[in-house]
């Protein structure tokens, strides 16, 4: 006989918990749900768009009645639970319905706080909480004119905006000088007020309500200063209170909310609680992201897995009013121990304030341009030290210009047909529709369904803005981000375990860290293969089946399934003989295009997979080796001609480039790695957008790191100045080694340095001379293993050559 689980409260938090439970333990409980409202579970945070006429009730249903039936859940709608017999483990509804339980889940949510002024009980005085309230507002708007909203917080402004759109004259009454004072500071609050006034809303600031007037329904509102205004409807949006009526009645320990521990258990071990009714570590939450986090933890304990603790959430806020972008998170007021960085351009409607404490982001508030809100929020949650990026923190993550979405940075200003994701051709309207039609809440879900931000990722900030303005708040990245769905562990934890427990193969990692899937997935397996190789170059064995196809067949797959082949040209220097061999190979294997690459190499396109070993063999015979144009490894060392020819050249840049390439080729790195050497500060080899760049100067060599010419154009940071070629090479080896040992798989040097800080890299590579030499030596040692020509090796091995050809030809 199955155990019985009863859920009281058919809202978002409770039902999400049930969904999480069904995912991990579908057959554990007989589930019964009580809901006071006569509907299935709907998306309460989308009530504002329903009021504004952008959506219908059907649009915002998350779980229809069919869903309950399909999952064998007994649903009592329109029944309010009025009592629980904790001894007899039985809940009792207002109509007398009784259900017994083994586990009880209370998700009674919250109630709008109705200010107890005279007249608060009159018909026409409502909160803004459920479908009934919205129906009342829509009904009133059809026949009446005057609306008063008491409370200029998030909910009040959304209600006011909706009523205005429905054609009413709306006055917002607010107790203090600043709208949304819990989410906005006075500057951004004033900017918000001004925008809303432009939309036609009226405000009575610093005003206290004295009484609501009327006989059988609302007629007017009177304030403490004596002013009276007419009102056909009064919306009380002065905050919410956890609904703890039932919990208190049955003797559960409550303070402001129902008190729960980190497993979401109340003081009665049979009773759990999630959602807005809960008080956890002294905090109550009214946003959806924390509630979902609670639901996940609670489901885990209901399923008796006993892992996972809810440790509280840091929340951020956005407003769902069309045309207004605002964002706030953390403590944006600050005190004596904090510093502010402020950027303010009121005429352009842009205001950003970041509060720092000990060089970490403590809070942020933004108005107008909020595209970097998610970035600040991430750093806030991660406790990232921002001292290295302070000088450009306010200009955002991509202040040098993002490619691919036309420089848009305010989603609200975009029309539905404007393209957000330039990689996958996704427009704003597509994203909004997917979010509302499919009930999406997180960035990951939006990526999966729409493909927006799923390729190069440069539009992530915009997509998050759209998500925020559509569903209000969301949870994008948990504080601890697991490598992928196959494990709970982070990249750093996995790397640490591999190093300290001498895990020298992927199966060993899977076993030691209790991987959830037998073979991992296409995301984690290549990462593990790299981590194992990087940590144990001599002890581990490369697993070709855990490499992306390009690295498996040492060529780049193209959209038609053919490959491109790039032979190495050291430092970008070639000879007539090599060119002749390349030309011959191009003709012999029918290359469809011969192209000069950005890294000073020649690329042969349209080569068939089965021809690869043979073309390599031909190129090998002319003295050429693989150019690793396909690899997570050194790609090319680009050079200019330098002092040997150039009248401006200060050093032998070509010669140094060749030496560096001879040292570093074949190396295994977390992502591709590009190097350039320029002979003078004119920098013709574009060394300042490479992972490692050398700019020769008269007195020696400037060494630059962490540049990138791709999605986020990023110029390098200066690492050090050195006097000799030997030193330049030593720094290069040490830098590549620490990047290899510490960066996450598929993390280029630019984001890696942004994450760990340039100071950290300098400390390890520049300031610590012994450490640098040790790192460089480890690099050179590993190169003994990695530095070989994979083309020649494949050509020589008859067994591996077989996989290049079809196993059988039929017909």
């Amino acid at each position: 006989m199955k155990e019985k689980l009863v859920l009281v409260g058919n809202g978002m938090a409770g039902v999400r918990t049930i969904e999480e439970l069904l995912k991990i333990a579908p057959d554990m409980y007989d589930i019964t749900v009580f809901g006071a409202e006569p509907y299935g579970n709907y998306n309460r945070i989308l009530l504002s768009p329903v009021l504004a006429g952008d959506k219908t009730i059907d649009d915002i249903m998350l779980n229809t009645l069919d869903w309950y039936e399909e999952n064998n859940i007994k649903l009592h709608v329109g029944k309010t639970v009025v009592d629980v017999d904790r001894k007899g483990r039985k809940v009792i509804a207002d109509d007398g319905t009784e259900e017994t339980y083994d586990r009880l889940l209370l998700a009674t949510g919250s109630n709008p706080f109705i200010i107890p002024v005279p007249g608060h009980g009159l018909p026409g005085v409502i909160g803004f909480r459920d479908i009934k309230d919205v129906d009342t507002m829509l009904g009133t708007a059809k026949t009446k004119t005057h609306a008063v909203v008491i409370g200029g917080g998030l909910l009040g402004l959304e209600a006011a905006n909706g009523l205005k759109i429905q054609g009413m004259d709306v006055t917002v009454v607010h107790l203090t000088d600043t709208l949304m004072e819990r989410q906005m500071d006075d500057v951004s609050g004033r900017m918000l007020q001004q925008s809303l006034e432009e939309k036609g809303l009226q405000f009575l600031m610093a005003t206290q309500t004295e009484a609501i007037l009327g006989d059988d329904c609302v007629k007017a509102v009177r304030f403490k200063d004596g002013l009276e205004i007419s009102a056909d409807i009064v919306v009380m949006a002065a905050g919410i209170r956890p609904n703890i009526e039932l919990a208190e009645k049955i003797g559960l320990h409550c303070e402001r909310g129902i008190v729960v521990n980190d497993t979401m258990q109340t003081f009665d071990p049979k009773i759990y609680s999630v959602g807005e009714c809960v008080q956890h570590r002294g905090e109550t939450y009214g946003l959806v992201a924390p509630l979902f986090e609670q639901g996940k933890v609670c489901a885990n304990h209901l399923a008796k897995f006993g892992i996972g603790r809810y440790e509280g959430s840091v929340t951020s806020t956005k407003l769902k009013v069309t045309g207004i972008d605002l964002f706030s998170a953390g403590d944006f007021t600050g005190d004596d121990t904090t510093e502010d960085i402020i950027m303010k351009d009121v005429a352009n409607g842009v205001y950003k304030k970041v509060v720092l404490k000990d060089n970490k982001i403590h809070g942020a508030v933004m108005y107008g341009d909020t595209v970097d809100g998610a970035w600040y929020f991430q750093m806030l949650r991660d406790g990232t030290d921002v001292s290295d990026i302070r000088d450009h923190l306010m200009f955002g993550q991509a202040h040098l210009g993002d490619a691919g979405h036309g420089g848009e940075n305010a989603a609200s200003a975009m029309s539905d047909d404007m393209e957000v994701c330039g990689c996958n051709g996704v427009c704003k309207g597509d994203i909004v529709n997917a979010i509302t039609d499919k009930g999406l809440f997180t960035l990951e879900e939006v990526k999966a369904h729409t493909k927006a931000a799923a390729s190069c990722g440069s539009c992530t900030g915009l997509v998050e803005q759209i998500l925020a303005s559509t569903v209000g708040d969301y949870s994008d990245t948990p504080k601890k981000k697991a490598m992928c769905g196959c494990t709970e562990h982070t990249h750093d934890e996995v790397r640490h375990a591999i190093k300290h427990n001498e895990l020298t193969s992927i199966p060993a990692v899977h076993e030691f860290l209790e991987w959830k899937t037998p073979d991992g997935c296409a995301s984690c397996r290549p990462a593990l293969n790299f981590y194992v190789l990087a940590a144990w170059p001599n002890e581990s064995v490369d697993d070709p089946q855990s490499r992306f196809i390009n690295e498996r067949v040492h060529a780049n797959i193209q959209k038609d399934g053919t490959y491109s082949v790039v032979p190495r040209m050291w430092g970008g220097v070639t000879t007539p003989n090599e060119l002749r061999a390349i030309a011959d190979a191009a003709e012999k294997f029918d290359a469809k295009m011969v192209k000069v690459t950005g890294g000073q190499r020649i690329d042969l396109f349209g080569i068939k997979k089965e021809d690869l070993p043979e073309i390599w063999s031909d190129l090998n015979k002319a003295g050429m080796v693989s150019g690793h144009a396909y690899g997570k490894s050194l790609r090319t060392v680009k050079t200019c001609v330098g002092e040997e020819w150039c009248r401006f050249g200060t050093q032998d840049s070509t010669g140094l480039g060749i030496k560096i390439e001879e040292m570093t080729w074949g190396s295994q790195t977390p992502h591709k790695f590009k190097i350039a050497v320029s002979g003078c500060p004119r920098n013709c080899a574009e060394a300042t957008i490479k992972d490692f760049g050398v700019v020769c100067v008269d007195s020696g060599y400037e060494l630059h790191v962490g540049g990138n010419g791709g999605i986020h154009v990023k110029a390098t940071d200066l690492l050090a100045r050195v006097a000799t070629e030997e030193e330049a090479m030593e720094y290069c080896g040490a830098f590549m080694q620490i990047y290899r040992e510490e960066a996450h798989y598929l993390e280029r040097t630019a984001p890696w340095i942004e994450r760990v800080g340039l100071s950290y890299v300098k400390e390890k590579v520049v300031e610590d001379e012994v450490g640098r030499k040790v790192l460089n030596q480890r690099f050179l040692d590993s190169q003994d293993v990695f530095k070989f020509d994979p083309w020649a090796r494949e050509v020589a091995d008859a067994e591996t050559r077989k996989v290049y050809i079809p196993i059988k030809k039929i017909g």
Binding site: A448, A522, P544, Q545, V803, K808, I810, G811
Partner: protein, 102 residues
């Protein structure tokens, strides 16, 4: 009745890998999972016709090398939320030899 065609020894397909069978009607990708189950699909992703034989195999799924669609090896169906399906072929292994039904 299916027409069983001998393809080759199981060992000739790498574990967690694939080999291609060329036919007049296009390539067929023959996969071998870690548990030695053998599957065959049309070597063409339902998304943009990427060669599935070149993807990474994990469990009974292959991830397309072009845009990371995940295709179920047994059914040929794309994993949600992507939608699409590629043709599948019956396979059997007898005495270490793989047969394909055409």
């Amino acid at each position: 009745m299916s027409n069983w065609i001998e393809i080759g020894a199981v060992e000739e397909i790498p574990k967690l890998g694939s080999r291609v069978v060329e036919t007049a009607k296009g390539d067929i990708a023959v996969f071998r999972a870690a548990d030695d189950h053998v599957f065959a699909l049309r070597d063409s992703c339902p998304h943009k016709q990427g060669p599935l034989s070149q993807g990474i195999v994990h469990g009974h799924t292959v991830t397309c090398p072009l845009h990371n669609w995940k295709i179920d090896l047994a059914s040929g169906e794309a994993q949600e939320p992507d939608e699409g399906c590629t043709g599948k072929y019956e396979t059997k292994v007898e005495a270490g030899v793989v047969y394909l039904a055409l």
